[in-house]
Amino acid sequence: MRTSTSGRVGQYAALLAYLVFLAFPFLWLVSTAFKSPRELGSLHPTWIPRDPTLDNFRQAFDEQPLLRAAGNSLLAALAAAVIAVLIATPLAYVMARHRTRLAKAATGWVVVSQAFPLVLVIIPLFLVLKNLRLINSLTGLVMVYVVWALPFALWMLVGYVRAVPTELEEAAAVDGAGRLRTLVSVTAPLLAPGIVATALFAFITAWNEFFFALVLLKTADKQTLPVVLTHFIGAEGVADLGPLAAAAFLATLPSLVIFAIIQRRITGGMLTGAVKS
């Protein structure tokens, strides 16, 4: 389509404004993480640290059990992602292929579960987990994360299943393959990239999660990264900016890397899940 030169200039100006708005807070975080305490205390902070230092990172690891917290986060997110995908994939398959009452009820649950405020979910869960002695335990947290990741996982997977042509399965059936055989040797390989993308997405959501972890994990040795990060902020809201920025920067890296990998797949999943079907 033809667009006038002035129109193009306007478009680039708008795009630039968006880029600045989206990027500047993150760049400032990185910049703060490498500044010395003296520089952070002085007025007129600069974008490029005057004498870059790694002291903040060292201090961050000294002040809070970051490695331990990262380990807890990794364990919880990994377990939640694997379990969520293992149990969601078969259900998503049924939801995509059969319009049974059960499939409809599951779709309804996916929608309704989005509307409920977490506080109404966490109070009963807290009581249930307390009775099971699973408060302040990563097992309890993983159980909550699995169910919490399910709606989005189901929704993504349903999109991926629909993208697999039914003709292939029918052909396998004609060739005499049983239902299970068809699923395992025809459908599953075609679904694999979608399943991996969904698992990575579930991993990020669990890695980033804060509210459930805040409520369910009581002691520092069990807490996940987002909760430990808030410990850098004192009761009065005063924070040691340097170590806080350094720790926040480190906590983001895994999600950023994974997101860079699956970026395309997620937008693709959105397309099939939300619009085409």
Binding site: P25, V110, L118, P151, N208, V215, L229, G237, A251, M270
Partner: protein, 314 residues
């Protein structure tokens, strides 16, 4: 987004209907069970339990048995001015975040749909806030808003616009300041969804309209918007729910301060439940939140749909 999926008809009706009649009954059960049990035990069950709790005097660490007290919690809530103040702030926040979020995301999605250079960079950056833990987003913006070491005040000083202020502790600036963060954090989902919707609009119609000499605005009104509308409605409704129920961002930015000016209903209910141990009362708050939000959304969606049928009739 899910709303769209739910209301859609199957694209290929015939093979699917056939699948229904195929002897798959027990096979389907065995596929469904692994997910169904956790959903029932850890989602549906607790939700119902939570609704029941709202009608009891459940408290943490109490030895006396929990009693059924009917609507007493709701009666108390009715007179709880602090809660309604928090509710009002929550609605202001949800609208204040959702509307700019939609407009900005629509603008960005329209740009990303064009054939511009640097589009790849913009696409990557557009998803950046999505990839970050909400706690980190909060921490990051605290650094931006910091009165001394923050980039916002420093920019204002450089531009000669005064000394700036303590944005997050000012009674009048705290809520607008956190709303900006909310908009920033929620843009990716909205942009990606709208972009997906845009790429689904018929190109040929666009080109035909351009041939006929329709300007950019006319083309948007007559070709793009009608196709985008269902997606836009669904994502706006979802954004409103998500924003109204949001917690971590504001918890990290202000913890609800100063003087309760940013105390969203979720923060209020969290404190009620896990600081003061009033489980029953907090559950009642949660229930009121769902009820009011559902009502507002129903009104919004019904209004929009009516608009549409009216528009088609005209």
């Amino acid at each position: 987004m899910t709303l769209v999926t739910a209301t859609e008809r199957p694209a290929r009706g015939a093979p699917r209907a056939e699948g229904d009649r195929s002897p798959s009954g027990h096979g389907a059960w065995f596929l469904v069970l692994p997910a169904l049990i956790p959903i029932l035990v850890l989602s549906v069950g607790p939700l119902l339990y939570g609704i029941l709790l709202a009608f009891t005097d459940a408290q943490s660490g109490r030895t006396r048995a929990t009693q059924w007290i009917g609507g007493l919690n709701f009666q108390d809530l009715l007179h709880d001015t602090l809660f309604w103040e928090s509710f009002r702030i929550g609605l202001g926040w949800a609208v204040g975040v959702t509307v700019p979020q939609f407009l900005l995301a629509l603008g960005l999605a329209l740009l990303l749909d064009q054939d511009l250079k640097l589009r790849w960079l913009a696409r990557a950056l557009a998803i950046l806030p999505w990839a970050m833990p909400e706690v980190v987003v909060g921490v990051m913006w605290r650094l931006v808003y910091n009165p001394d070491a923050g980039v916002l005040n420093e920019t204002l000083r450089t531009l000669g616009l005064g000394d700036g202020r303590d944005w997050l502790s000012g009674l009048s600036t705290a809520l607008p300041a956190v709303i900006v963060v909310g908009v920033w954090a929620g843009m990716p989902q909205t942009t990606v969804t709208l972009l997906a919707g845009l790429q689904n609009t018929p190109r040929e119609l666009h080109e035909a309209a351009a041939m006929d000499g329709a300007g950019a605005w006319r083309r948007f009104r007559t070709v793009t918007w009608p196709a985008l509308r269902p997606v836009a409605l669904a994502i706006t409704a979802l954004n409103f729910i998500w924003n109204f129920n949001s917690f971590a961002l504001v918890y990290v930015l202000t913890s609800g301060g100063p003087g309760g000016r940013t105390r969203l209903p979720m923060l209020f209910a969290y404190e009620e439940a896990f600081r003061y141990g009033q489980f029953g009362y907090a559950a009642a708050m949660g229930l009121v939140m769902v009820a009011v939000v559902s009502l507002l959304l129903a009104l919004f969606l019904v209004g929009r749909l009516k608009d549409r049928t009216g528009g088609e009739a005209a």
